[in-house]
């Protein structure tokens, strides 16, 4: 299955297993502009899979209300670039529903899906990766799949999760990412990063499309620099799996009072990534300033300060809107990432 087929399958399973589940948004009835909802209205009926008027703030608000009143509400925003009108509903309302009501009310059964990231020609308004805006909003969960197998399981997890979830689907992967996706129903854990390649010299962190770019960087680094990279897909942006990136449960006092024991431990294979490699590269398409890489960098330098052999590097989109003709220059491509690996290894 490719990515949109896997998502379609996941949605189908959600609707089949939960009679309260509904899917709505612009153009979802005929199958959606990316075919993610093909066949669903036919199979599950017009009252469960339906078009809404063209209004993102309405879609989000409607979803929140439906969830509050007992439905499993799966909303689609046509492009992540257009999720901004819904920002108030998502961040001021959905994220805070449980907190502000003292737990009396919640919209945990709300999931909002949106295609995101670069597609080759999307320019300013069909290429955005807005995960950082929402990462700053306590109460939400933000998830980005890297392929069909992960997407099917993660989406089902989001739909069943008891918190409002945002599921950003890298649109370039809809057709290009093809995997042997298990036909049965399965979920995958949220807030758990995946170590895709084990390595010793440097940790590479990314999500969505960027994971595939970083995989190529791992190979390049091995071939040209004899450098062993550890590749991690963050998977969930909020709440994010800091432990896998850098072990945090080692008590601080132990580190300062018993440095030789710490040294022994740091050489041990049990230790999590950056404490093991001492070098971290984060890559994302979203612009540099206040991109989610900034959060990872700040947290890791705090928790792994003494382990770092080099500053934490971020290879990202530039601090500009996403340009049309210049996309090949804008993207955090494998050559920019490779160059960063070189710099860090030779620091």
């Amino acid at each position: 299955m490719n990515l949109f087929q896997a998502i379609n399958n996941s949605l189908d399973l959600a609707l089949s297993s939960d009679p309260t589940a509904i899917i709505f948004g612009e153009d979802v009835a005929f199958g959606g502009v990316f075919r993610c909802t093909v066949g669903l209205q036919e199979k599950h009926g017009k009252s469960r899979v339906f078009n809404t008027p063209l209004c993102e703030q309405g879609i989000a608000g409607f979803g929140i209300g439906a969830a509050t009143a007992g439905a499993t509400a799966i909303a689609e925003i046509q492009f992540a670039d257009y999720i901004l009108p819904a920002f108030d509903q998502i961040c001021n309302e959905a994220a805070k529903y449980r907190y502000r009501s003292g737990g009396l009310y919640d919209c945990g059964s709300l999931t909002i899906r949106a295609p995101c990231s670069a597609v080759g020609h999307g320019a300013l308004y069909h290429s955005q990766s807005p995960e950082a805006f929402f990462a700053h909003c306590p109460g939400l969960k933000v998830v980005v799949p890297r392929g069909p197998i992960k997407a099917k399981g993660l989406l089902l997890s989001c739909i069943r999760d008891k918190n409002p979830c945002l599921f950003f689907e890298p649109k370039i992967l809809y057709r290009s990412a093809v995997e042997q996706v298990p036909v049965k129903e399965y979920t995958m854990p949220l807030s758990k990063a995946d170590i895709l390649v084990e390595g010793d010299d440097i940790t590479l962190v990314g999500w969505g499309t960027q994971v595939h770019v970083l995989r190529e960087v791992c190979q390049l680094a091995k071939d040209q620099l004899n450098v062993s990279c550890e590749l991690i897909d963050l998977v969930t942006i909020l709440p994010w799996d800091k432990e896998t990136i850098a072990q945090v449960d080692l008590p601080v006092c132990l580190l300062t009072v018993l440095p030789f024991i710490y040294l022994f431990i740091s050489l041990s294979k049990y230790l999590k990534s950056v404490k093991k490699t001492g070098r971290l590269l984060i890559a994302h398409e979203a612009p540099l300033t206040s991109g989610f890489g900034a959060e990872i960098a700040a947290s890791i330098q705090h928790d792994c300060f003494l382990n770092l052999e080099a500053p934490i590097e971020r290879v990202t989109g530039f601090d500009t809107p996403f340009p049309h003709m210049f996309e090949p220059f804008y993207m955090p491509d494998k050559w920019r990432c490779f160059e960063a690996v070189k710099k860090l290894v030779n620091y």
């Binding site: 199958g31 409607f62 929140i64 969830a67 737990g103 109460g139």
Partner: protein, 433 residues
């Protein structure tokens, strides 16, 4: 033949999976497409005209205001008197007056620094009680912030109101929000949030859920005329109509959005004027007439549920009090204007006159109730004030359904800090549990 072939092509190019679409028999299409009688646009097939004429909104009189009683509380057309039982009418009166009394005490308490903030409901009690009385207690209410009377009608106790305003350990909201942000799961009143209008599309979604659940319930959505300018209001009205949701939109048009008078809020025929544009059943009522409000809401509920469609009620009223304790309305309106409404067109006086005319109330009862009411409010007040605030660690609860590790980490860090610097934090006011 040509037009039909083109039509087929157009349809096919739109579907993702190239399914054949049944576009009706050939003769039917030929008839429709060649007809000169009506426009054929998918967006509108109304009528043709060869006159260049713009619609002049100022030439329309405006939707009339439905009422049952005159300003003095005398029923005008007896057929419109809902003939509610004495017990119910007295409950309505007591509810409105208790709300009024509670408002006075809590407004004053803010002035004295006992609570941080308050909003009164002066002049709008009729809109709350008249509408709440016409609903099923299980109908879900989404409010804005000036609908405390609906909660009072449903049985929210004085203690519960005050616990929330004081943010003490018995507040259902666990001390998280400013005063008047009430919520009750038991009484089907969704917790109030400060952003205006956000409740409106949510009410529509909830109504859709209820429709699917076939539970015989509707959703009630309150909002002010100022809020109706928000984008969410437009979204809600449009969604409710296109998705056939059993929701009643109840606009409290009280003439002001803080200092902004309604003539600066809209140029058209108020909020009711917009209803038909959305394809919605609409009525405008005298919000200070409890029976008019009751009748309209009653009927609206019937229609919403029997026909599975939204209804818009615009209740005209007047905000006698300031916007909130942070506002002094003498800065933008005259004391005379306010006095007019307080003395000449008040929902409480009008209902009292009705009760007097029926022989259901008198001076002795008024005096007794006034004292009883005040006593109840004062004792609840004293109780709420004495209680501790919730444990400060509640800061970290309910962000998510389960507490994630990064929040636990922050809680632990703050625990250590508070232990070390205990004397600098007002711990004695907060519960230890």
């Amino acid at each position: 033949m040509l037009p039909i072939r083109l039509a087929c092509y157009g349809l096919r190019s739109v579907t993702a999976n190239c399914k054949r679409i049944n576009i009706g028999s050939l003769s039917q299409i030929t008839r429709e497409f060649s007809s000169d009688e009506r426009p054929q646009f998918p967006g509108s097939r109304s009528q043709w005209t060869e006159k260049l004429e713009f619609i002049r909104p100022d030439l329309y009189d405006g939707i009339p205001v439905y009422r049952v009683m005159d300003r003095k509380g005398k029923v005008i057309d007896p057929s419109q008197d809902p003939q509610l039982p004495q017990e119910m009418v007295i409950k309505m009166y007591k509810c409105m007056t208790q709300l009024n009394t509670m408002d006075r005490i809590l407004y004053e308490s803010q002035r004295q620094g006992r609570i941080s903030f308050y909003m009164t409901n002066y002049g709008e009690e009729g809109t709350h009680i008249g509408s709440a009385a016409a609903l099923d207690p299980k109908d879900l209410i989404f409010g804005q912030y000036r609908e405390a009377g609906t909660l009072m009608w449903r049985g929210f106790t004085l203690d519960q109101f005050m616990n929330q305003c004081y943010g003490n350990m018995d507040d259902g909201g666990k001390g998280k929000q400013m005063p008047v942000h009430y919520g009750s799961k038991e009484l089907n009143f969704v917790t109030i949030s400060s952003p205006l209008g956000t409740q409106m599309p949510q009410a529509v979604g909830a109504a859709y859920s209820y429709k699917r659940a076939q539970n015989g319930l509707c959703v009630m959505c309150y909002f002010g005329e100022g809020t109706s300018s928000e984008g969410d209001a437009h979204a809600a009205l449009n969604f409710s109509a296109t998705l056939d949701c059993p929701v009643i939109f109840f606009c409290r048009n009280n003439g002001y959005a803080i200092s902004t008078p309604s003539k600066e809020q809209y140029r058209g025929d108020g909020i009711a004027g917009r209803g038909p544009a959305y394809g919605m059943l609409t009525i405008r009522v005298d919000g200070n007439d409890v029976f008019a409000v009751y009748n309209a809401t009653s009927k609206a509920r019937q229609v919403a549920l029997n026909e599975m469609r939204p209804v818009l009620i615009e209740a005209m009223t007047y905000r006698i009090g300031h916007h909130s304790t942070s506002d002094d309305s003498t800065a933008y309106r005259s004391v005379d204007e306010v006095r007019y409404w307080d003395e000449r067109d008040h929902p409480i006086s009008r209902l009292r006159n009705y009760m007097l005319s029926k022989g259901w109330w008198g001076d002795a009862q008024e005096k007794e109730w006034k004292e009883d009411c005040k006593r109840q409010v004062m004792t609840a007040f004293a109780r709420a004030e004495k209680k501790l605030k919730p444990n400060w660690k509640e800061i970290f609860t309910d962000v998510y359904h389960e507490m994630p590790s990064h929040i636990t980490e922050q809680l632990k860090q703050m625990e250590e800090h508070v232990q070390k610097y205990a004397e600098h934090y007002p711990l004695k006011n907060f519960s230890k549990d």
